[in-house]
């Protein structure tokens, strides 16, 4: 399987402070990769570096082409959707407008309308609230909206930053089931950063473990999840 996105020697900086030290990672086409690690390890920074939101050095290739140094909006237009920490909801716009914003780079009106209905199909709660101001939605609903907005891009790769954060367990289960469906049905590749390791390892096929900006382990999800020492030291169970 070819890598859809891969990095070689990825370093990232906040001002003068270096936070990522030469990461080599890859997400296979059609695969789901988990990015695990303790708080402050650099998981969110990695996703931001992939999207050009933070100063970085090193190779980043998407579908064979280098995207290092490109503007965020250019990278997004190439087919990468990023569901950020904090969800990035447009609070003053309605749910439906949020989805329309997600599709703003597309020109096919019929396709956009069909995709909005598809998002509502996955998230019926959003349909109920379609004309409500997005800022009034609950945390779980805003997370669904963020995923819906990303889906509207019809991306080849979806980056998800802690999608379970602050959500009730039942909603989290629902959400991860939908990720699985999106991956199987729509062939959407995913890179998921998660604190809830057990949950994401059950879904993913590959996993990386980061500690203070460096890779400490890479392998299949079962390898990483099965390693006793790793589980106890880093994943807490």
């Amino acid at each position: 399987m070819t890598a859809l996105i891969e990095t070689r020697g990825l370093c990232a900086f906040y001002g003068d402070v270096q936070v990522l030290f030469g990461l080599d990672l890859a997400v296979e086409e059609g695969g789901i990769t988990a990015l695990l690690g303790a708080n402050g390890a650099g998981k969110t920074t990695t996703l931001r570096a992939l999207c050009g939101m933070v100063r970085s050095r090193g190779e980043i290739r998407f579908a064979g082409q280098s995207i290092a140094g490109l503007l965020t909006e250019t990278i997004v237009r190439r087919g990468i959707a990023h569901v950020p920490e904090g969800r990035g909801t447009f609070s003053r716009q309605t749910v439906e407008e949020n989805l329309q914003i997600g599709a703003i780079t597309r020109r096919d009106r019929a396709g956009i309308a069909a995709d909005i209905e598809r998002v509502y199909g996955y998230f019926p709660r959003l349909k109920e609230r379609r004309n409500q101001q997005a800022g009034t939605l609950s945390g779980g609903e805003q997370q669904m909206l963020a995923v819906g907005r990303a889906m509207m891009l019809r991306p080849r790769l979806m980056l998800l930053d802690e999608p379970s954060f602050g959500l009730a367990p039942m909603i989290v289960e629902e959400m991860f089931a939908i990720f699985g469906t999106l991956n199987r049905r729509e062939r959407m590749s995913m890179l998921i950063v998660e604190q809830n390791a057990a949950l994401v390892l059950a879904l993913a096929d590959r996993a990386y473990l980061i500690e203070t900006g460096s890779l400490v382990m890479a392998g299949s999800a079962s390898e990483v999840g099965g390693d006793e020492n790793i589980r106890r030291s880093y994943l807490g169970y």
Partner: protein
């Protein structure tokens, strides 16, 4: 009663101009979080350009449309050339650049066209509308043009894709980038539109206040007052604020004993300060809380 209605309508007419200037300021404020102190001088310069085109023989509406187009292009150029490079700079740096632009445009206009007061034609004719003593033809025309422009802008922002993209870019630039929106170009578009709105305002008010390099200074002040009254985070509020300032200053001058033309501006600003004491965010604005 006739006097009251006449003053209200005259107030709405000039209020429309304040609303336009206030709207232009708020549009740029929403795009870059800074107040464009040079908005009035940009409008004045545009009006001089229109005057020059008319002097060269262009019919009024041709000169009008050409000026709007030129002003739009100039607004985009000013953003890309002057403000894009200082994007992350501190507030004071921006203030200095705005003041510099103000001086350059003011002196430039004075140098090119001199400081002698000039008349600027009104396309609506002189005298009163339908001969009644209610509202002058020019005032009625100003109200019509202002309302048409505001309705067009409302339609643009609410019902077009690019209007939605601009709103998204203003609301949350980072999230907008993640949707693929070219935020830099949305800001440039905001600048162009603000410049065009200012040009229309300038060309509408010039027949009343006469064309000279300092003509927009107090008008911009009224526009700021209206924008602050309505709330700097609310374009609709800025527009309503502008109309309110126009009506208040006219009624105050007419009905408050002792207040003549000299105290119009003072009274209007006094009322605005009073409102802000109770509602610092303006009547329709939101208070913005920054996490330290």
């Amino acid at each position: 009663m006739g006097l009251f209605l006449h003053q209200v309508l005259a107030g709405i007419a000039t209020g429309g101009i304040y609303a336009c200037m206030g709207l232009a300021v708020v549009m740029i404020y929403q795009a870059i979080d800074h107040l464009n102190f040079a908005q009035g001088e940009m409008a004045m310069f545009s009006t001089f350009v229109a005057w020059q085109l008319i002097q060269w023989g262009a019919p009024y509406w041709v000169a009008f449309l050409a000026t709007v187009a030129i002003s739009f292009a100039a607004g985009v150029a000013i953003d890309r050339i002057v403000f894009k490079p200082i994007h992350g700079a501190p507030v004071l740096s921006h203030v200095v650049v705005f003041i510099a632009m103000l001086s350059i445009l003011n002196s430039g206009a004075g140098y090119i066209w001199d400081y002698q007061i000039k008349t600027f034609p009104s396309p609506f004719g002189s005298g009163n509308l339908f001969g009644q003593n209610l509202v002058s033809r020019h005032d009625a025309g100003m109200i019509a043009v202002t309302l048409m422009m505001l309705m067009a802008l409302y339609f643009f922002f609410r019902h077009t894709r690019i209007g939605l993209a601009m709103r998204a870019a203003a609301a949350s630039p980072d999230s907008a980038r993640l949707a693929g929106i070219r935020v830099g170009w949305m800001v440039a578009l905001g600048w162009g539109m603000a410049a065009a709105i200012g040009a229309i305002a300038g060309m509408m008010i010039a027949p009343v206040v006469f064309l000279e390099p300092n003509m927009m200074i107090s008008i911009l002040l009224y526009g700021f007052a209206g924008a602050v009254l309505g709330g700097l985070t609310s374009p609709g509020g800025a527009v309503l604020g502008g109309f309110a300032v126009g009506v208040i200053e006219n009624l105050a001058a007419t009905y408050i004993p002792g207040a003549g033309r000299e105290l119009k501006l003072t009274i209007a600003l006094f009322i605005i300060v009073a409102v802000l004491i109770f509602k610092p965010g303006g009547l329709f604005g939101r208070r913005v809380v920054s996490r330290v």
